[in-house]
Amino acid sequence: MSKRMIKFVLNGKPIELEVEPELLFVDLLRERLGLTGTKVGCGEGDCGACTVLVDGKNVNSCLMLAVKADGHDIVTVEGLGDYDKLHPLQEAFIAEGAVQCGFCTPGMLLSAKSLLDVNPHPKREEISRHISGNLCRCTGYTKIVNAIEKVACQGGGEDRE
C-alpha cells in the first residue's frame, strides 16, 4: 500500500509523480492531473470512452493501474490538438458531423489515431474493425468512419505534421 514513484511521458511532456498502487490511470488523469477529456463510460473495458494511447497503442485506461504507466509514452485527447491547431482527425470529425453527444469522441479519436499512425490508408472495413472497441450510441458510426476515412484519403498518418 506504499506509494510508488512513476515516470512517464504524457502528451510529449515528461511527468514524474508518486501514486498509490490502487490508483487507476484514468483517475490519475482526470482527478490528479485535471485532464478530464478522457471519459469513464463503463469502467470495465466494454465501451472505450477511456481510451488513451500507450506507446501508440489504444488501451482502456479504466483497466490500467497508474503504476503501469511507468516508463511509457502516453497520449490523451489533450495531446492531439488545441484551439489554435486542431489535429486533422479533430477537423474531420467536425466537418463530417461525427460528433453528437461527444462522450465517445476523445476515445474514438485516439483509436483512430492509433490506426492511422501505423496504417495511414486503411480500408473502410479496417477502420470499422479498429474502432470496434469504442461504443457510440448516437451516430451509428457512419460519420465517424467517414471522418477517419477522409483523413486517411488526405494522407493519413504520414504527413500530418
Binding site: 500500500m1 510508488r4 498502487p21 490502487e22 469502467g43 470495465e44 473495458g45 466494454d46 472505450g48 481510451t51 500507450v54 497503442k57 489504444n58 488501451v59 482502456n60 479504466c62 483497466l63 490500467m64 493501474l65 503504476v67 503501469k68 483509436s111 492509433s114 474493425r129 479498429h130 474502432i131 470496434s132 472497441g133 469504442n134 461504443l135
Partner: protein, 290 residues
C-alpha cells in the same frame, strides 16, 4: 481496492516472491483481473504485476515447436508473421478477443490463467496441442493445456506457480486447423460458443484430429471421443455432420443471459462441423500443393 503491489523484474525474483506468499493474484494485461477486482469478485492482498519480466515475452520458434511467452498480447499474437504462417487459426482466435483495446493489453497467459470457459484463444491452443510450462521456486512442470482448467475461473496452478511459457505445435503440411466463434455481436463479444479443430489428412483419410470447444461447460473441453471416431474416416460432409452431432450430444452447456443451453448445443454442432470442414480443406490444399 487495496493491495500490496509487487513488480518483480525477473522470473527468479517472481518465483522467490511467490514462494510462501499468501493471498495473491498475478497481474499481466489486467483486462480480466481489474474487472474482477472492481466487481469485488476477488480482493487479493497482494497483486503481483509480472508485466515487467522480459523472459515471459516474445514468440520463439524452436525445433518442431512454437514457444509463446505468456505475456504475449493478443495483438502481438494476431500480428505475428511466424504464427500467422504456422498457426493461423490461433491468430484468428486472438483477433476475436474483445476489442482492439483489450487485445493490446490482454495476454495469452492471462487468458489461460483467468480460466474463463469462454476464453477465445483457449480452444485454438487446445486444438494445437498446447502444453503449458508451470514454474515455481520448487521447479518446473509441463502440462497439457486441458489439464490446467478445473472449473470456471479456476486452474490447477499450485501456490507459487506461474505460467512460464506455452508450447504449441505448428500446423505442418497435410494438416489444417480452424477456429470459429459465435457471439451476440461482431466485436466486443463474449463467446456464446467458440471452438477449434486440427486435423491431419493422409492418403485421403483423417489420421489424427483434435477438437476443442469453449462456453459449453465449466471449462473449455476437448472432444476426445469424437477425435478418435474421426480417425480413419474420409474428410467429407457426412463425417463432419456426424462429428457435429456428437459434439452437440456430448456437451453440457448452461442457460445464461447470452444464450439458451439448447441453442448453445446447436452452435457447438455447427462450430465443430465448420471447423472440421475448414481444417481438412486447409490440410488437403497443402497436400495438393506439395
Amino acid at each position: 481496492m487495496q493491495f500490496n503491489y509487487h513488480s518483480p523484474k525477473s522470473e527468479t525474483e517472481l518465483a522467490a516472491l511467490l514462494n510462501g506468499m499468501e493471498d495473491y493474484c498475478l497481474l499481466a494485461g489486467g483486462t480480466d483481473v481489474m474487472v474482477k477486482m472492481k466487481e469485488k469478485l476477488i480482493s487479493p492482498r497482494n497483486l503481483v504485476d509480472v508485466s515487467g519480466i522480459e523472459s515471459l515475452k516474445g514468440i520463439r520458434e524452436t525445433a518442431g515447436s512454437l514457444w509463446i511467452g505468456p505475456l504475449v498480447t493478443h495483438r502481438e499474437l494476431m500480428d505475428s508473421p511466424v504464427m500467422n504462417k504456422k498457426t493461423a487459426a490461433l491468430c484468428l482466435a486472438a483477433s476475436e478477443v474483445g476489442s482492439p483495446q483489450i487485445r493490446n493489453a490482454g495476454t495469452v497467459g492471462g487468458n489461460i490463467g483467468n480460466a474463463s470457459p469462454a476464453a477465445d484463444t483457449v480452444p485454438a491452443l487446445l486444438a494445437l496441442d498446447a502444453k503449458v510450462q508451470l514454474n515455481s521456486a520448487n521447479g518446473s512442470e509441463n502440462l497439457p493445456l486441458d489439464k490446467v482448467f478445473v472449473g470456471p475461473g479456476r486452474t490447477c496452478l499450485k501456490s507459487g506457480q506461474y505460467i512460464a511459457g506455452i508450447h504449441v505445435s505448428p500446423v505442418a503440411a497435410g494438416e489444417g486447423a480452424a477456429f470459429a466463434k459465435f457471439g451476440k455481436r461482431k466485436a466486443l463479444a463474449c463467446s456464446i460458443v467458440n471452438g477449434a479443430a486440427w486435423v491431419r489428412v493422409q492418403g485421403g483419410v483423417i489420421t489424427a484430429a483434435r477438437i476443442a470447444l469453449g462456453s459449453v461447460g465449466p471449462t473449455p473441453v476437448r472432444l476426445y471421443e469424437t477425435e478418435k471416431w474421426l480417425v480413419g474416416r474420409k474428410p467429407e460432409p457426412a463425417v463432419f455432420a456426424e462429428a457435429g452431432l456428437q459434439a452437440e450430444q456430448s456437451v453440457r452447456p448452461i442457460d445464461d443471459v447470452r444464450c439458451t443451453a439448447t441453442h448453445r448445443g446447436k452452435l457447438a454442432r455447427v462450430t465443430v462441423q465448420r471447423c472440421l470442414e475448414a481444417a481438412t480443406k486447409q490440410a488437403m490444399e497443402v497436400c495438393v500443393c506439395e
